[in-house]
Symmetry: C2
Subunit: 193 residues, 2 copies
């Protein structure tokens, strides 16, 4: 998605050789109009996958997932939780996910009543780096007896290997912008799939 590549180059902020910050329009301050454009693009890319539900993980995936839901004609969004509130009394599916940017491992969980056998689940998130969150979400979908029909990320960091790992498991992975490398403060894109 050319517009996203341009926005990353214009508003993204490079830290070292691993991280590009997009907190000015995706994961702290949100450009909702741009989210809707990304939502439309996800709907175009995954149209043939015919998802009936979108699964993401709190917090940065929520805005993107809601925009995509709208583009798919308002299919439900479920977001996995990282902490268990005391209102979460029911049975849950859980999986461990490591966060590269926070340096933590969280147990993410989804209430069993929100994922059903037979669901065709599209997993969406803001970043796809090492693929840890994606793998945890796939695990949860599998536990529910549902099917992962696709996994989309706004920004794939190809050099961190998560997309390749997930494709190796047979997952239909697509991203809107794929970063091949960050060198001397400069972001280089590769063709996204």
């Amino acid at each position: 998605m050319k517009a996203l590549e341009e926005k990353i180059l214009k508003d993204g902020e490079v830290i070292g050789t691993e991280i590009v910050k997009v907190d000015g329009f995706i994961n702290h301050k949100i450009d909702v109009k741009f989210m809707d454009e990304m939502g439309n693009e996800f709907a175009r890319l995954f149209k043939d996958a015919r998802p009936n539900k979108i699964l993401t993980v709190e917090a940065s995936g929520i805005a993107i997932a809601c925009s995509a839901s709208r583009s798919f004609g308002y299919i439900p969004v479920v977001f996995a939780k990282k902490a268990a509130p005391n209102t979460m009394t029911e049975d849950t599916y859980t999986a461990e996910a490591r966060s590269f940017t926070k340096g933590t491992v969280s147990l993410i969980r989804v209430s069993k009543k929100h994922l059903e056998k037979g669901d065709r689940v599209l997993i969406l998130d803001d970043f796809l780096a090492h693929g840890e969150a994606g793998l945890a979400l796939c695990d949860i979908v599998k536990q529910a007896g549902a099917e992962v029909v696709g996994l989309g990320a706004a920004i794939e960091k190809t050099y961190q290997g998560g997309a390749a790992k997930l494709r190796g498991y047979g997952i239909n992975v697509k991203s809107l912008a794929a970063i091949a490398k960050i060198e001397d403060g400069k972001v280089t894109f590769t063709k996204s799939e």
Copy 2:
């Protein structure tokens, strides 16, 4: 908002006398079409406040804030963070917020570059209970030299006193549904303001 009261009665789940769970359409599984209807209602209620920015806190406020942004013609959404990722290297405004449902106190933070002096900020969240998150967000807006032009909650739990406390500080507080009491598993609404 009649539709929200009806949805709480139909899909909400009462726990004891303090809590009503709305994880089936607001804060775990999201009914995005209904979020958009709530967003329209917030835009109607706070039209005269002329906000230029919406502030919420991760994670449950994000979907509502994005829907309202759209109804206001796409004003930016900023969500306060509860944990500091290692990409958050810049100066932040911080305030402490107690979570009634999680039994924790978190330090919430907003990057200084995303709130500016002169901003007219509408604070939105899913619940307004004891008002702790609302007060913390107001504090952050004040630190930025910006103005809180309104505070809206989808669901106000009037009996927990947060709305009255915030109104006592002169904040323009409105909610889409106001719960007066929960007794014998039954939710009773009062007129929301």
